[in-house]
């Protein structure tokens, strides 16, 4: 096997490992929220994981700055909420979770994910 093929093989393997590590081994950073949180919607949700208290109203403000059509809706299916997110306009959602646990929120096409951890 020629040296360029060996190189491509090595770099390809490294590329696959890097892709796995980069996307699938990401550590979740959890933000503790008291009563209100701003989530920037750009290439995903930032912060991506929020921790909120049980039984208390929490206001989640989404601000979409990313033109991707995928992100133009946010869905909190456990709370039965689907909201359109117009570009550069803050959209507030208020939730009062009654049970501790993890609740996902996603974009309209289920490509981007975020998580609400209720404690």
């Amino acid at each position: 096997m020629s040296s360029d093929k060996i190189l491509v093989g090595i770099f390809g393997l490294l590329g696959i490992l890097f892709t796995y590590w980069f996307f699938l081994m990401k550590k979740e950073k959890q933000i503790n929220v008291v009563s209100e949180v701003d989530i920037t919607v750009s290439g995903g949700y930032s912060p991506e994981v929020i921790s909120i208290p049980k039984g208390k109203p929490t206001k989640i403000n989404f601000l979409r700055t990313d033109p991707s059509d995928c992100l133009s809706e946010v869905v909190l299916s456990d709370f039965k909420i689907r909201k359109e997110l117009p570009m550069n306009k803050k959209v507030s959602i208020e939730v009062i979770p009654q049970k501790p646990g993890e609740y996902k929120f996603t974009c309209g096409m289920n490509m981007y994910h975020g998580k609400i951890v209720v404690k």
């Binding site: 491509v8 093989g9 892709t19 059509d69 359109e84 009062i96 981007y112």
Partner: protein, 732 residues
Amino acid sequence: MEAKQSLRSSDLKKTFPIKGMHCASCVRVIERALSRVDGVSAATVNLATEQASVAYDGNLVTDQDLASAVESVGYKAVLDQKVISEDERKQEKQKELKKLRSKVIVSLVLGGIIVVGGFFGLSPLVQLLLAIPVQFWVGLEFYRATIPALKNRTANMDTLVAIGTSVAFAYSAFVTILPQVVEKIGVEPMPYFDVSTIIIGLILLGRYFEAKAKAGTSEAIKRLIGLQAKTARVVRDGKDVDLPISEVAVGMVIRVRPGEKIPVDGAILEGESSIDESMVTGESIPVDKGRGDSVVGATINKTGTFTYKATKVGQDTLLAQIIKLVEEAQASKAPIQRLADLISSYFVPIVIMLAIFTFVVWYIFGPAPAFLFAMLNMVAVLIIACPCAMGLATPTAIMVGTGIGAEKGILIKDAESLETAHKIDTIIFDKTGTLTHGKPIVTDVVGNVLQLAASLEKGSEHSLAEAIVRKGEEKAVKFLKVVEFKAIPGHGVEGVVDGKRVVFGNRRLMVREKIEIDEKKIEKLENGGKTVMILGVNGKLAGLVAVADTLKETSKEAVNKLQKMGIEVVMITGDNKRTAQAIAAKVGIKKVLAEVLPDEKEKEVRKLQSEGKKVAFVGDGINDAPALAGADVGIAMGSGTDVAIEAGDITLINKDLASVAAAINLSKKTMRTIRLNLFWAFGYNIILIPVAMGILYLPFHILLNPILASAAMALSSISVVSNSLLLKKAKI
């Protein structure tokens, strides 16, 4: 732009725009004015967003109070924001679509010139100049979505398109600018600008059609929102004043003329008319209404003029509740979606890894020119993968399904209920108020006992007592004075009338009183589906009163329809066995659960479930809430305007029993659409990704051109959305 998930109805928060603000001092003025309203616990105003947020007690404060407070200090509160935000949203969507369309045209025209020009020897440099605007202006949105996504260590569709087209573009630019370098390694310096430009054009074309089709999936909710009246003609000091709907408050008197829309819910004070309620309740025949009858906002007054008092406004109206319920149902998740959810979270990274793998394998083992094969196949893999189709498969069908339901007066609480309904094999109908009208009437009086029975029952609260008293009034009997009245639960009533001891009730009471009864006569009446009550005077049988509840006209047909669908229909009632059997026979029900007390209905549901049955319970939602909740699907029959929407998983506001079969049919059709969508979305990716990787090259020498890959990708999500839209044509 505020959504709430509040649990206590009295404890509300509302955010609404304020017009006319220009400085920071306005903030304090408005905040003070709002705080002064009784029942408002907190008010904050934001100058930057020009919005006020108010926390208040919903029992004490109305929208009108908030609006007046803001108006009193010289500003305007826009509380009718749903309509405005809908319009804004629509405008914004249209603007986005227009922009998308022009981008599609630019990329396809420039891409077309490159493709055709390529055949006629168009210089690579000119091709490069034509491809630059497509890659960096039209394709900018792919980069703008990819860069922040990579910052968050996530990836999506756009990431795949951005990587795929960038590889094709970068390679082409390289061979255009430095052809001698590739020539040196024995590769013909041929650019692939057609690939990068046409892929971008086709994918955006797909998005354009997809966005248009997607708008169709939420048509039902938009139509419901559009039903809201904009103004109301309020009678003030004897004069008619047109007020915006947001300013109408509970208690106001409103005049409605023929052909006009009824603005909010209320009760008629004067006048009568025929009202078309089809747009809200799905009930097709106009209903005649007069003084005291309730009217529903957004319905159309057909014939007469009347005035009515507003009883529910804003978010409390039936229409607003329906909209809220449908919106919530459309946002909920069907259990069938779980697998797609799981796959979609790993999908894009896996496709990137497969693309790298494809490049390596083709480069090492592929035929010459290995680099070109490796690159084009890698681009094809990146482009053909379509996670969107998987993401859209379930929600679009749920949106269309719940929307169709709402239009026909079938309100579905969430996606899970819609999914479960198609598995139902047993339906229990509560008799009273569901199969029957729930208003019993006296059908037979044996012996001269009506006066005694009616006098005695006047003091009773039993549901049958009302029928007997009404009959007495009809016959103009003189009600006698009753002393020592006593109700004996599960038996009947007793008392002393005219010095005689009178007992009135069922067999058990007669046994207790040791009164001999004429069983034959009673049986005969019971066999006709009537409930028989026996009257004894001074220890001797005096006569009988038979009461019957009339069947609804649609009951038999509805039961028949369900039986034809292979569903076992069961009737449940507190009536005695013989009466129950007789009524069940009239509608064609074979299995009867009789003499079941109200609190035992849930137990009967559980019993059937323990036999492995999937059970739906159909009731009026008033006293059978536990059974409705216990069933796999609780179907509540709405009672017209005063709908207990939250009572069931499915609420039939059209009061039509035939809708039970329609709801199950709707569930079956929606599930079939979802399954087809998922099959298509999964199948597409499972089959075409390996094809793009070149799996067919060895046996058949077939490779997938990246341009064809982009066309297939664009078609795949459009076909999923279009399939969901086909549901609209389904007959239920």
